[in-house]
Symmetry: C2
Subunit: 173 residues, 2 copies
DNA sequence: CTAAACTTTCAATAATAATTGAAACAATAT
DNA sequence: ATATTGTTTCAATTATTATTGAAAGTTTAG
């Protein structure tokens, strides 16, 4: 396979993966393009290679910078800005995990804590109330577990992540 | 807080969480409603309590059954079908993980293997080609790691998941 | 077999999310 | 000061995805 074809396939595939997560297809594609480009790219490069508008390119590149997985790169004597992706894939995974934790885990934790104390309600059997609180409790403790796991991964450095954790997870395969 | 209000809040919150993942809001809400209902519900119950159409209720309940987190329950002497959610939250997490692995990890793995052999391409510097294959390799091995981790979790039983893994992840908090 | 009770499908419609492109804004060089 | 080169914003548009509801399909009872 030729390099260009391989790059396109990767960008397309990464875009599809993105939509399965709550990430827009284009945002994932911009990320993919930056990942497989050895040097930094300008807004124009992004527009041309992905066939998207200037506004779109700008918005997505900014979102990626918010996530911390793309950096602005300024070149001396150059007016325009260049962008490059974090190339260390473990660090990328960590940063994405962090962002998703903030966006997804935190909101549901807030809801769960809020509804944790249900009053004995007139018109509901105690069975109903108990079944509800039991369910909420178990989701709550699971969410806390997931949150803790995410924190640990976020704090863990890449080496630990790869060597220790990997051996642990696949002891016999 | 009253039981009804708490239930609504939970259903709404679970729905919001769903949209952040690639799950439709209504599918997540149907799941939430079944989770907090002590008994099984009929299609009519779902329609009424979530204010959705028959077709919508049916499609989402079927999707949840495909995921394995909702079961059909037939009552002797009753024509209509009742549905109930898997209440064990660890099992729910496992089943969701399994489904997401199939839908997300597998497609990108396919793309990655396909583009792994890039020919030395005329018109591209060897630096360019090398940088590309290096990136693909590292994503590939990371994806393999994630896939292995997912398999392990899927196979692991609930007790191990809670006791061993939890202690491991949060050794000092 | 036919009616009744219920489920499933799917084309049409509505709701939501992403994208464009032009205008406003900012920075630098002359 | 103003022309040039670039960035950012945002209302309008387009594309995507979810939802409806009516029709077709199933199953059981009589």
């Amino acid at each position: 396979m030729q390099l260009d074809e391989a790059k396109s396939k990767f960008i397309e595939g990464w875009g599809t993966l993105g939509s399965a997560w709550g990430v827009s297809r284009t945002m994932a594609q911009v990320h993919a393009l930056l990942l497989v480009s050895p040097g930094a790219l300008s807004t124009e490069d992004l527009m041309e290679q992905l066939q998207i508008s200037r506004g779109n390119a700008n918005m997505n590149v900014r979102a990626l910078m918010d996530w911390g997985i793309v950096r602005k790169e300024l070149r001396p004597g150059e007016r325009r800005e260049f962008f490059s992706a974090e190339k260390d894939i473990h660090r990328v995974a960590t940063l994405i995990l962090k962002e998703r934790r903030k966006r997804e885990l935190e909101p549901i934790m807030r809801v769960l804590s809020e509804i944790k104390q249900v009053e004995p309600t007139p018109g509901a059997t105690s069975e109903e109330t108990e079944s509800f609180t039991k369910m909420i409790d178990s989701i709550h403790s699971f969410a806390e577990f997931a949150d803790g796991a995410a924190s640990t991964l976020i704090k863990a450095d890449e080496n630990w992540f790869l060597s220790t954790f990997m051996k642990l997870m696949r002891p016999s395969q």
